[in-house]
């Protein structure tokens, strides 16, 4: 068994900071006999901000320091989101709140090119989601977690190497709490190395059975069973914005973080989705919600990002945005070579729908349409708008014009004959269309193919009901 631990030392800060493309001096505070700084970022630290400092003092040091309240729920949500993303590497993983995850990766090593390569891909991926992590791969989950928490990055090949690596760490790394640490110090120990050299026999009596068991699990001498993280059946990701966003295009960057996370989740489940639901949470009450859709299941974050960009361009925000939520459900199986299965069906295949997705995202659903034939004699009902690719029922008419006017245009009449750039030549053929009494859209018209003095051919009719005038209804183009 091989375990890969991901430790996120700055998670309370990063739940906010990962929404920003550019680092600003920032710190997270929490209530501890007054509002105190929990953690500051690099720029805050450079200005002299330190953990434990009252917020007021920190702000006196750095006037442009952004202090934000710690949000434990957001931290847990971030950890869960990261776990969902990790599904692309392995289905076996556990949450280790507050700041870590551990992945069982024995089965994934070969697929990802070995331990070092896998570790690198995980570390780069986590970095791309906006987290600073130390990742460590070791033969036991506890060992990997302890080493990662101490900032150890890299691969520990076997139990012997693990023991050596642990031996160099301070006693506090074991996580026994204040009392446990006190007990160990009272035994005269200074590091984990000294503890490991003690004879096992008396250890349980002096130190407690539970703690010794913990130690043995770390070293891989007894099995270490951890609750398995059940990957959710749908994705829900949230990102807190460190700075209120008022321009929709400034949302692209934080949205991309969520799309990357979703991409990993979908890859782990070999699935795609056709619909993303976005919620933009405003400072005051309320939220803006919109849906991004595609014609077929997709998971590529880059593709979703392009659609999102177009959608955000025509979005006007009623108020500033403080947080984003991305939801995706109804996962559909997706395999890499999905479309190439039957290349011989080329002619019958529907055209690529990705173009439709892009056009709809920017122009709106109603701007992207197909034409559908209808079995009706009335020209305005012999067709209708439909979804692109929708199959109609009617038949073609070679005697019809290429263009139809949405509204028939009344024609000027002179000497009882219709005019359009001069007197129209009505030709010899007349077609009477008289129908529709049964659905309340009755028409009674005589249609002619008229020719203008310049040779342009028009489709005109004389209304036999009501106004009895002449109308232009189509152009032969």
């Amino acid at each position: 068994m091989r375990w890969l631990a991901i430790h996120l030392p700055a998670l309370p800060l990063e739940v906010y900071a990962r929404s920003l493309q550019v680092e600003i001096p920032m710190a997270v505070s929490q209530q501890d006999k007054g509002e105190k700084i929990l953690l500051g970022n690099r720029r805050a630290t450079a200005l002299g901000v330190r953990p434990g400092m009252p917020v007021g003092s920190a702000q006196a040091l750095a006037a442009d320091l952004k202090t934000l309240p710690r949000k434990p729920r957001a931290e847990h949500a971030a950890l869960t989101g990261l776990a969902a993303w990790c599904g692309r590497f392995t289905p076996e993983l556990s949450l280790e709140p507050p700041y870590a995850l551990v992945l069982e990766v024995a089965g994934s090593l070969q697929l990802f090119g070995g331990a070092e390569a896998l570790l690198e891909q995980v570390a780069n991926g986590v970095d791309g989601l906006g987290y600073r992590a130390s990742c460590c791969l070791a033969p036991t989950p506890g060992g990997a977690l302890v080493l990662a928490a101490c900032g150890h990055r890299g691969v520990i090949a076997d139990l012997h190497a693990l023991r050596t690596a642990l031996a160099k760490l301070p006693l506090s790394a074991l996580g026994f709490g204040r009392q446990g640490l006190e007990d160990l110090r009272r035994m005269g120990l200074r590091g984990i190395g000294e503890l490991l050299r003690l004879p096992r026999a008396g250890l349980a009596e002096r130190f407690g059975v539970e703690r010794v068991q913990h130690l043995l699990r770390l070293l891989g001498e007894v099995p270490d069973l951890r609750p398995r993280f059940e990957p959710p059946t749908r994705y829900r990701g949230r990102i807190e914005l460190a700075v209120e966003v008022v321009r929709a295009d400034a949302l692209v960057f934080p949205c991309r973080r969520l799309l990357e996370e979703l991409g990993g989740f979908l890859m782990g489940r070999q699935s795609g989705v056709q619909q993303l639901t976005w919620h933009l949470h405003h400072e005051e009450e309320g939220e803006t919600r919109f849906i991004l859709g595609t014609g077929r299941p997709e998971r590529d974050p880059q593709l979703w990002l392009e659609l999102l960009r177009e959608r955000l361009m025509r979005l006007s925000l009623p108020a500033g945005v403080r947080a984003l939520t991305l939801g995706a459900r109804d996962l559909q199986p997706l395999f890499p070579a999905d479309q190439e299965l039957f290349p011989e069906l080329e002619g019958r295949r529907a055209p690529d729908t990705r173009l439709l997705d892009r056009l709809r995202a920017r122009l709106g659903d109603e701007a992207v349409r197909g034409l559908v034939l209808m079995a009706d004699h009335r020209p305005e009902r012999a067709w209708r708008w439909g979804a692109p690719g929708e199959v109609g029922v009617g038949r073609g008419r070679p005697d019809r014009p290429l263009w139809l006017l949405a509204e028939p245009l009344p024609l000027h009449v002179c000497n009882r004959r219709p005019w359009w750039d001069g007197e129209l030549d009505l030709g010899v053929e007349r077609e009477r269309i008289e129908t529709g009494w049964w659905d309340g859209h009755e028409v009674a018209r005589d249609y002619f193919v008229a020719t203008t003095t310049k040779g342009e051919r028009l489709w005109i009719y004389r209304d036999l009901n009501g106004r009895r005038g002449w109308f232009l209804h189509g152009l032969f183009g």
Binding site: R362, L363, P398, E456
Partner: protein, 226 residues
Amino acid sequence: MGLDQLLNARHDLCRGRAVSAATPAGLSTGFVALDALLPWRGWPPGALSEILTDRPGGGLALLKPALARLSAEARWLLFLDPPFIPFAPALAASGVELTRLLVVGGGEAAWAAEQGLRSGACSAVLIWGGRWGMATLRRLQLAAEAGGSAAFLFRGEDAANEHSPAVLRLRVRHALAGMEVMVLRLRGGRGGTWLELPLPNGGGGKSQFSSPASHKPTEGLLRQPV
């Protein structure tokens, strides 16, 4: 200044008759006389063509035979900001497969045209709306090349005085017997020729073709340059 630099710098210059044997075969226009005038023996493939007309909606009849054939491909026929409703019964009768037809409004013709062309998901993109300058037209031409898609831009006759990177520019007017087509500009060929073409099938009750979808090339009457 070398010839290439000059050609790049001056949009009003173009290389004459450079394409000959290497000219890729185009898609037949469906009119023998027009095909004979064009070095591609048809519409230029993967390129921008301009069709100038004096009436909105004019010139579409000239494309009907080509559209019918293009709609057999598993790609879209994109109509961008058409001036009127493309009438489904007439298109279907010309052999156009309506399920390939995509009608897009929204008034962002330049953007949408580039998307359609570049995606490779369209066999042809027909564009009516939009304002066009040299830079946007050049983008269209590049996108058409990249996507292997034919771009047809319908413009008013006054655009004849504007520079354009289009490889083909035609002026289409109504004539008593059909259409009068004038080749205003042709990359690698001779401009200034004009011819009169009968209308393809449809219109006026009497069909020119025995079968609407036969795509039989229609003879045209070639005239000498004026």
